[in-house]
């Protein structure tokens, strides 16, 4: 076949859409799985540092195996490879008496939802004119809610199918934890839609570029490189950003941000809300009976959920891939790459923050979490909606 013909075929709109989508999915999936293993390493290292320990610092390049005199420790970075290899090569022990079908199904149900969430997250502006979102759909945020909550099924099924008491308690806890945070999580995000008027994550980011990130909404019409050269313009746009409505809206949006972020902790089963796992009380919680790759899938699911959750927070509240002054991908592929980098940096910072919180706070008691969800966040989130409505209706520019 002629190369021109192939090129023509590949640039036909629907063919172009299909192969770029596949390529984007493939790359993002692999990057995320790599990030998971880096996150596990970061978790171990940060926890060690917080507790005045050294953390993994031995596994590096095993020169002694290759006939060398001394191993190269490499700051323990080899641990990132050693951990998955250990999990992969372990015996996959399935206890007698488990419900086999659901026992095998559960880890997949935990692993799949966070990866599905990644589909709608805009992880960059555009590269060579290709939008850096796998699926740019109008129900973006609703889709995240719908899919992310599915992973609770995996945990509950794992607890139930294990036919053992500790996993069972873990599964039960997970489902009741879900009903106590999910509602306030959904409600907390409503002020965002009232302010921005869109559910599409890409539009949400465009709005934030123009009006400032939702947690720091102080620049209208965006910063750009051109503006930097004209200080007068820059000053004008900064002054224009200081309107009363903007300042007042910042309060409900911050409340939204806090509630949503805390709910993300609960959603991803991270401390202080890791009740389904609760090593000290429930042995291993819902994955007590799991071994080898089945266990690794739970592990992977938890960290992928962290990644997806941080991605959602970044996209909704922290301006996604945007950074003031830096233009988007339409100005050249280099800027497109920079945008992707910015997104990953923001997500990494949030993940590090989650790790940091994990090694700071003790676990909430079971009833405390329910109380926090139902009596704390739920009324505040409801009140927040009215507050936003009042500000939008009565305070004008």
């Amino acid at each position: 076949m002629d190369t021109a013909l192939i090129l023509h075929f590949l640039t036909t709109p629907w063919v172009f859409l299909i192969w770029t989508t596949f390529l984007k999915s493939f790359i993002l999936l692999n990057v995320v799985l790599g990030v998971v293993s880096v996150t596990v390493f970061a978790e171990r290292k940060v926890s060690a540092f917080i507790q005045d320990r050294t953390g993994p610092n031995r596994v590096g390049i095993p020169m002694t195996l290759l006939g060398g005199k001394k191993d190269i420790p490499f700051w323990g970075l080899g641990q990132m490879i050693a951990d998955p290899v250990k999990l992969l090569t372990k015996e996959n022990f399935v206890p007698a008496g488990v419900n086999k079908f659901f026992f095998w199904l559960a880890p997949k149900l935990v692993m799949i939802p966070p990866i599905m969430v990644l589909a709608v997250l805009p992880f960059g502006s555009s590269l060579f004119g290709v939008e850096m979102t796998i699926a740019n759909i109008n129900v973006g945020v609703l889709y995240i809610f719908a899919v992310a909550s599915l992973s609770v099924y995996g945990i509950t099924i794992a607890g139930w199918a294990s036919n053992s008491k500790f996993p069972f308690i873990g599964g039960i806890r997970s489902s009741s934890q879900m009903i106590s945070y999910e509602l306030s999580m959904g409600l907390s995000i409503i002020p965002v839609f009232m302010v921005c008027g869109t559910l599409n994550l890409n539009d949400l980011i465009d709005w934030q570029i123009k009006n400032g990130w939702l947690v720091v909404p102080y620049w209208p019409h965006g910063f750009s490189l051109g503006q930097l050269l004209h200080p007068a313009q820059l000053g004008q746009s900064l002054i224009a950003g200081l309107s009363l409505q903007r300042f007042l809206l910042w309060i409900p949006l911050m409340i939204s941000f806090v509630i949503f972020f805390v709910s993300i902790f609960a959603e991803t089963n991270r401390l202080p809300f890791d009740l389904p796992e609760a090593e000290q009380e429930l042995v291993g919680g819902y994955h007590t009976e799991y071994a080898s790759m089945n266990f690794a899938l739970f592990f992977l699911g938890e960290y992928a959920a962290m990644f997806a959750g941080s991605g959602a927070v970044v996209s909704i509240f922290l301006g996604g891939w945007s950074l003031p002054i830096i233009p988007d991908g339409s100005q050249g592929w280099l800027w497109g790459l920079v945008n992707i980098g910015v997104w990953f940096v923001k997500v990494s910072v949030l993940i590090l923050f989650m790790i940091w919180v994990r090694w700071t706070l003790p676990r909430f008691r079971y009833d405390q979490l329910m109380k926090l969800g139902w009596l704390g966040f739920f009324p505040i989130a409801l009140f927040n909606i009215f507050l936003t409505a009042v500000i939008i209706a009565f305070v004008h520019h």
């Binding site: 940060v46 060690a48 540092f49 917080i50 507790q51 005045d52 320990r53 050294t54 806090v258 940091w356 919180v357 090694w359 700071t360 706070l361 704390g376």
Partner: protein
């Protein structure tokens, strides 16, 4: 009478958690920052760094046999340690000291003396029971081997680990 402990009255700031969470984060951040610059880390890098110098005199390590100042093995093969050993780690094969030997009047010595270190529980009963003060728990703790037979200490190894012990040693140390 039961003591009534009233719940403390919490201020609003305490009730909404956030200030104390921030305070906690500040504490952990301090530790993280310190550790990042390699300060304040308490971990000991074990095979390279050891705590041996700080080990107390009454440390109960591997049991060993000792010789006295004349180079004579103190053990007279009475087999009391063999009988008292709770996990039965000790096996002794006694022999009579031949007539032409300098120490003939001692009459007995062990021909073979094996301590199975896979069985030994480091309880120190052998040391307590020994009437001749011939067996001592020394400070060796990392006893390793590639197979079971390497883990059995024979007479030669035991004397090598034990060394020489001069005079009478007070073995009823209360800490031991």
């Amino acid at each position: 009478m039961a003591i009534v402990v009233n719940r403390p009255k919490l201020t609003l700031a305490e009730k909404c958690y956030l200030p104390s969470i921030v305070a906690g984060l500040a504490i952990t951040w301090k530790h993280l920052k310190r550790a990042l610059f390699n300060k304040g880390i308490v971990t000991m890098q074990y095979p390279e760094e050891k705590w041996d110098a700080n080990m107390p005199d009454w440390y109960r390590g591997a049991p060993t046999l000792v010789t006295d100042e004349h180079g004579k093995d103190r053990c007279v093969a009475c087999q009391l340690c063999e009988f008292i050993c709770p996990p039965r780690a000790i096996t002794i094969k006694p022999m009579e000291i031949p007539d032409n030997d300098k120490w003939r009047k001692v009459e007995k010595r062990p021909e073979e003396f094996d301590i199975d270190m896979t069985r030994c529980i480091y309880c120190g009963l052998c040391e307590e029971v020994c009437p001749e003060q011939a067996i001592y728990l020394r400070k060796d703790y990392s006893i390793t081997g590639l197979n079971r037979s390497e883990m059995v200490h024979n007479k030669e190894t035991l004397y090598k680990l034990g060394g020489v012990m001069n005079g009478l040693v007070f073995k009823w140390n209360e800490l031991k």
